[in-house]
Amino acid sequence: MPTQSNASSDEPSTGANREVHAGTRQAPDSFRSDFVAGTRAIAPVLPAAAVVGLVTGVAADAVGLSPMPAMAMSVTVYAPTVMLTAFALINSATPIVVILVASLIVAVRFVMLSASITSYFSRLPRRWRWILAYFLWTPVYALSVERFDTDPTTNRRGYYLGTALPLWIVVQAAVLVGLRFGAAVPARSQLQFVVPLAFIALLVRFLTDRPKKLAAVVAGGIALISSGLPLNLGILLAVLGGTTVGIVLDGQEVGA
């Protein structure tokens, strides 16, 4: 994992840990270089994202959506898991309320990402957080948090957007292609396995100590067991369980 050092280190080093999460104000130069760093970081994830977008576009077409509302959904929702859930339910002629509830519950993971990442942006004016929130995705979250933790001087807006914007562009383009070419997309069932692989690759970067590893194991276990639960509630439980175990273990190891 390359460590990017910022071009401009003009700002005085506060040195205090309490600044880590709040973030210090960055010189404009740093925005650009950290944006580039973000883009570089997200680059290997882009093919997987393209596949996801493709699958979504194809699914939209298969379900019978016309291109206009499908693209509108892709842009406003910007969450293939939500869209795919909606599509699956449209197919079985479900009442609209159920489709809405089911799809939004699938999006609960975004609440967790939001809760977890927000402390890094606490110094940012609200309007910026509104903008950044739109682009929130698991890889964006994972890469950004990892970077913010290892290099507190990072221009967070820059890095975050550096990961988020290319991803957005790639996903929307892929959805468009999937919509346009529909069933002509080959080996669709093969390609969708890229997603868990990308997540695995991102996951290992966070398994830095024993409590974290155990948190992951517990979360994974709960997710497996409770995957029968409807509407991805299993994931919420898994995260709660894993985080709890991690905190408990961490407290024990530190002895505090």
Binding site: P44, G64, M112, I117, F193, L197, G221, A223, V239
Partner: protein
């Protein structure tokens, strides 16, 4: 399913509600993080476990869903391929290599 099966106002309603709903969920905590310029250390500590937990949960949830959709030998194939990918990821910490190995492993195992 033909386009005529799905009323366009129905679809646009979905677009609108899902769009607002999803964005709202994303914005949720990010909106309210306002006057708190500091996160209390215990909470900060706890939050650090969320990335590991959520990624692990997403991987395993996906694993199982795929399993239930696929029959017979493919179940083991997916688990093996992802297990291999995990080992490779652990060793190389590289995203493209992990994905590449995982895909190749799966293709080889399926073909076998």
């Amino acid at each position: 399913m033909t386009p005529s099966d799905i009323g366009s106002s129905f679809v646009w309603l979905l677009v609108f509600v899902l769009g607002i709903g999803t964005y709202g969920l994303r914005l949720s905590f990010m909106h309210f993080q306002d006057s708190l310029s500091e996160v209390p250390p215990p909470i900060e500590h706890g939050l650090a476990f969320i990335p590991a937990a959520i990624l692990a949960a997403l991987v395993c949830a996906e694993l199982f869903t795929l399993e239930s959709l696929v029959t017979g030998t493919a179940i083991n194939t997916q688990v093996i391929a992802e297990g291999l990918a995990f080992i490779v990821a652990w060793w190389t910490k590289s995203i493209p290599i992990t994905i590449g190995v995982g895909l190749v492993a799966r293709s080889v195992l399926l073909w076998w």
